[in-house]
């Protein structure tokens, strides 16, 4: 990361958006969206994560190597979640031989 110094204004805007998103996710939780409650909550959480990572953690100024490592991490996390949930959601779908 060569010296990229963001302005206080940029940080303030990001901070205010983060606070607004927190208020939004709390307010929308009381609205009945059925199964989409989880989806909306997670979409807002991912947006907040991206704001924190890109601006506060300077990922948008980071080296290509750091970005590659981060993408790798997301991939491993994806494998962890996907394979485990595939297992749990399909248990009992097929009979167990001999039982």
């Amino acid at each position: 990361m060569s010296e990229h110094i963001d302005s206080i204004k940029t940080y303030t805007v990001v901070w205010l958006v983060l606070l607004a998103l927190t208020a939004a996710t709390t307010a929308v939780a009381y609205v009945d969206l059925g199964p989409f409650s989880v989806v909306v909550a997670l979409v807002i959480a991912v947006c907040k994560m991206l704001l924190v990572a890109l601006f506060f953690m300077h990922v948008r100024h980071s080296t290509k190597l750091t970005r590659l490592v981060l993408l790798g991490a997301l991939m491993w996390l994806g494998i962890l979640i996907l394979l485990t949930l595939t297992d749990f959601s399909t248990r009992g779908v097929l009979g167990v031989p001999g039982r």
């Binding site: 983060l18 969206l33 907040k48 506060f56 190597l65 790798g72 485990t84 749990f88």
Partner: protein
């Protein structure tokens, strides 16, 4: 390499340039944070699996948490990330006084978060919502009590480990304030502040996911 090379904090002997040294430190911190992603990822996954197994019990138990207190604590943590990033900025500009002020503000906000957390945990003890022999969730059938205990076990494990990371963060901040007051950091060398910032924001991100998943997603269901 120049023969008359003098080793400094910003440029150790094994690096070619100060920029290379800084990139190496940043990458090292990110690699550590990625192991933390996998560590917390496992717990989020356990929570997801059990929430799918016992959706109704988890919905009722989750709704017993105070969402307003949780949201307020999220705001406190976001403010602490804001002051932390301003501390990093001050150190990039070599502003020692501003650096110390922002680090102290971050420290105070970190303590505020932990204080609110302690208040919430204390309520759980009073309500007998702490897993164990005295656990009792009012208005729930006896055979479902164990599933409610499971929710609170996961709640305490996840918020507890997050709080442990906050306590470590508070320790790191105290150390940085001490070092900064001795004038150890400059615009040329502020890597410890920078990587501590990465850690602090990461702990913030974990809470960004913990808050909706523990407090919010079943709020809309009828009681």
């Amino acid at each position: 390499m120049a023969e008359a090379h003098v080793e400094t904090l910003a440029l150790r002997e094994q690096f070619d340039t100060a920029e290379q040294q800084k990139d190496a430190s940043t990458l090292g911190m990110w690699l550590f944070l990625i192991t933390e992603v996998m560590f917390f990822g496992g717990m989020f996954l356990a929570y997801t699996v059990y929430r799918h197994l016992y959706p109704m019990v988890f919905a009722v138990a989750s709704s017993s948490l105070d969402a307003v207190v949780g949201a307020a604590n999220t705001a406190v943590l976001l403010c602490s990330s804001f002051t932390m990033v301003l501390a990093v900025r001050a150190s990039q500009l070599g502003q020692r006084k501003a650096l110390i002020v922002f680090l102290i503000l971050t420290l105070i906000l970190g303590f505020a978060f932990l204080g609110v957390k302690a208040y919430e945990w204390n309520l759980k003890f009073e309500e007998h919502h702490v897993p164990g022999a005295t656990f009792h969730f009012e208005g729930m059938a006896p055979d479902l009590q164990r599933h409610a205990q499971l929710f609170f076990s996961l709640y305490f494990a996840m918020t507890g480990l997050h709080a442990l990371h906050m306590v470590i963060g508070v320790g790191i901040l105290s150390f940085l304030i001490f070092q900064a007051s001795k004038g150890r950091f400059s615009a040329e060398y502020m890597t410890p502040v920078d990587v501590a910032g990465l850690y602090w924001h990461f702990v913030d991100i974990i809470w960004i996911f913990l808050f909706p998943l523990l407090y919010l997603i079943d709020r809309h269901l009828p009681k």
